[in-house]
Symmetry: C3
Subunit: 357 residues, 3 copies
């Protein structure tokens, strides 16, 4: 796949995502705080379960439905997770800023996480129209722009028609379809014909490892809050784990792409790094009082996880890293191209979602 | 696969299912209404979660367990969803009629949906004995007959032995196994030997798209009710989404088979049509006061979704339809037979579950 | 695969597991009872849902993440379930004994099941470092030793530092990683090089059947308790179904290995036997007052399920057993090696997790 762009451009894409992530953490540092009381009359666990259902829909449902496409099976699931993790961070800030009349700090509640997940799903729907035509940086821009447009539109509608959250949001399907279609029309050039035959045959291992990663990622807030007795502590644990995981998913994707000479993504590293945030925040998750601290922990954990996997010397006899997956350092093909039908797809390319290059 | 029956017989099968669906909507129109109060003392969300678990067991657990069979992997998951969606509609009517002494309208409660899901699971168990020997129409008849027999038997037992719901229903495994065995014995002729080698190698895409569709289908009631504050509105939203999705799954299966010249099922169309009911009912789901309206919306949405996908002109550059899956109109093989090991299984045959034809 | 050990050694391994299971049932008989009251202030269903999330993480998340390894895809998911089912039984006893100062009976609560599941996850993490180097008996020993060490360490920490459950348990990741690494170092010899090329290409059927089995196994307590009205009865139903399923999973694995001449595991038999406990306990699950009775039912159900499948005469025309999967008795290859790419992997070998033999 000959590229018209020098390597530096490729290398710059993940750096953009990392910088954006740092900026988001700064925004959270200055503008958000947790609600110290229990806001939901229906009970913490019940409210959390509804949010959990939405996350399952977004990560598994939309992720796998869009992976319908021929050439992007597993990358599309990974990119779906990346956009979801980035989208919920931006949406929660945006919803907070737009919903308050006078400037002030944004309160993070279970309901606002629910709302942010639903807003982020608009991007996951739209992206089906452009998948395979955009690269990582374009995806990041699309997440930010679409969520801003969607949030503004919802606010305008709610002011004009005096409608509630449900009525504002339920045109999400129409909005997302047309937004995706518009983006697809605006993209400079179509997929080159010659690359059509390039097949990324996903391996059996990547299927199961991706399923496992997603299930752990989705239910980790339950894990970290399961043994806490006080409802306030449980709420804090859920929030902090949620944010640490979101940041570590974005970081894992970016750094994994940055660490590879050709900007590719090593899925095995990523599977572990995505979960690193949940581990890092585990022991102190009920004590952290603001989201930005959890997010910094997630960022650092993602960096260390991939950095360690890259820099560990080869004489280590397949260390279990932290999640016990026996990484074959130096020959990740053991993990990534196990069967003879796909001997060449050792790494998934970060530009598999960006054929323009 | 030479057929002894003319095309008209094949075409008539899906029409039967559609007619039955219309009849069920009429029955719901005349005989059911929602309970305006909150009936469950344990809380709406908690009660809903238990029903959710049952749906996951029925759609994923039983669907994938039965797909163990060699030749019917993905069709069996789709047929499982079809029978579940049809079964819960019939079971809820039947349970309502049988449980009241004097004729009157049937009240739909969360508990009755739970009961209907469990009753419908008896069909999903039985069908393992006959899968691959029956066609779509025979499956429909089996759903209706088995649920009627099971419901009547449960009522008789409860009258004679004065037992409660739990005791009545827990012989479901024995009943379903013997019912399935009996049906298998009564079927006129066994599977012809010659067709044994015909393999339907499911593609990686169909696996992931089916998983995605099922996860979206199962958790859609959570999505449509997530932003509503009032418990009554949330209950209505859950009920209406549930019914719209059930009808649209049945419709999608029937119309997809009807729209194909050889009565085959295009899985890509179906994946979108199955979910169309949830989208159609989304914005007004908390305002609809009777199930039949939601069911009509689901029926219309399923019809439009497949009709639109069939009739859209080819010059459209891969419209994202509504769920963003980039349908290659005119060459659905892009989606359905992506790898070289299964180059001929472009469409799944509706008669893959009916080798008698 | 030539073995240095006679058949009797292989045959003895599953017998060990069965004996251990019987010993565990005796321990439960003498030392445990259910709490007759409702202990959780947050409500039964909410508390149950959190435990459910943990089970999903353990069975699906960790099971599939570790199946990343090349040669052990599906066996690792099955062994993961085996270790989880064995681990929760031992952990609940151990936690009970360690947490009480004076000797006495152990009370089983929803919270203790939650704690036991999290403890058992330490083994599932560690095992990633040794998978492929240990056999079934070594795995059983590892489960018992690691849980005992982990439990003792947690007790010592809680006494010295006066910390609560959450703080004690959250070093689980570090502990599990180092424990697994230590075990891997202590194992006598590495994997022989010659066996590296042996591939166990999992079939599509085994993927879907395993997914189906896991989803049914995880949500069966919901199924058995869904129609009960009284909270106490529902709690008992959940507990009894949980224990019956745990025992029947351990039994299924052991007996399936015992019943095969070469100690291999027939996955099709296992899929049904794993679920047999839930069926056996179904009708009386709310009436059983102590866990050992449910465990005996699970043991007997597992034995009968596999014994019946082995001993049934061949003239039966594909009986639906109880879960309706059309077992081809005498030619299980129909089920187990459906596609032409894996014609020889008819049965999964129990020693696939024990290459030392």
């Amino acid at each position: 796949m000959s590229s018209k762009y020098p390597w530096s451009v490729r290398g710059c894409l993940p750096l953009c995502a990392l910088t954006l992530e740092a900026a988001l953490i700064l925004l959270f540092f200055f503008f958000t705080y947790y609600n110290a009381s229990l806001e939901d009359q229906e009970g913490l666990v019940a409210s959390y379960q509804v949010g959990q259902d939405l996350t399952v829909m977004a990560a598994l449902g939309l992720g796998f439905l869009t992976s319908n496409l021929q050439r992007h099976t597993w990358s599309s699931v990974a990119f779906n997770l990346f956009m979801l993790a980035l989208g919920v961070q931006w949406a929660i800030l945006l919803d907070g800023f737009l919903s308050q009349l006078s400037p002030g700090k944004v309160v993070i509640k279970l309901f606002s996480i629910r709302l942010a997940t639903m807003s982020a799903m608009s991007v996951l729907i739209s992206v089906g129209a452009v998948l395979g035509k955009v690269n990582l940086a374009q995806l990041v821009v699309m997440v930010l722009v679409e969520l801003t447009v969607f949030g503004t539109m919802r606010m305008v509608i709610s002011i004009i028609f005096k409608t509630d959250y449900h009525m504002n949001l339920m045109h999400i399907h129409v909005f997302a379809a047309y937004f995706g279609l518009t983006v697809a029309r605006c993209l400079p050039k179509p997929l080159p014909q010659g690359t059509k035959d390039k097949e990324q045959i996903a391996t059996r291992s990547s299927l199961s490892a991706m399923l496992g990663t997603l299930f752990l990622w989705m239910f980790w807030p339950s894990f970290n809050s399961a043994l806490l007795r006080s409802p306030i502590e449980r709420k804090n644990a859920v929030f902090n784990t949620y944010y640490a995981l979101a940041v570590s998913a974005v970081t894992a994707m970016s750094v994994s792409s940055l660490a590879h000479p050709q900007g590719k993504i090593n899925m095995t590293y990523m599977h572990n790094a995505v979960l690193a945030g949940g581990v890092a925040v585990g022991i102190s998750c009920h004590l952290i009082r603001s989201p930005w601290l959890a997010m910094v922990l997630g960022l650092v954990a993602g960096l260390i996880s991939i950095g360690g996997a890259k820099c560990l010397p080869d004489w280590l006899p397949g260390p279990p890293l932290h999640w016990g997956t026996q990484l074959g350092h130096g020959d990740s093909c053991h993990v990534w191209s196990p069967d003879r039908f796909a001997p060449k797809s050792q790494d998934m390319e970060s530009t598999s979602c960006g054929q323009i290059f």
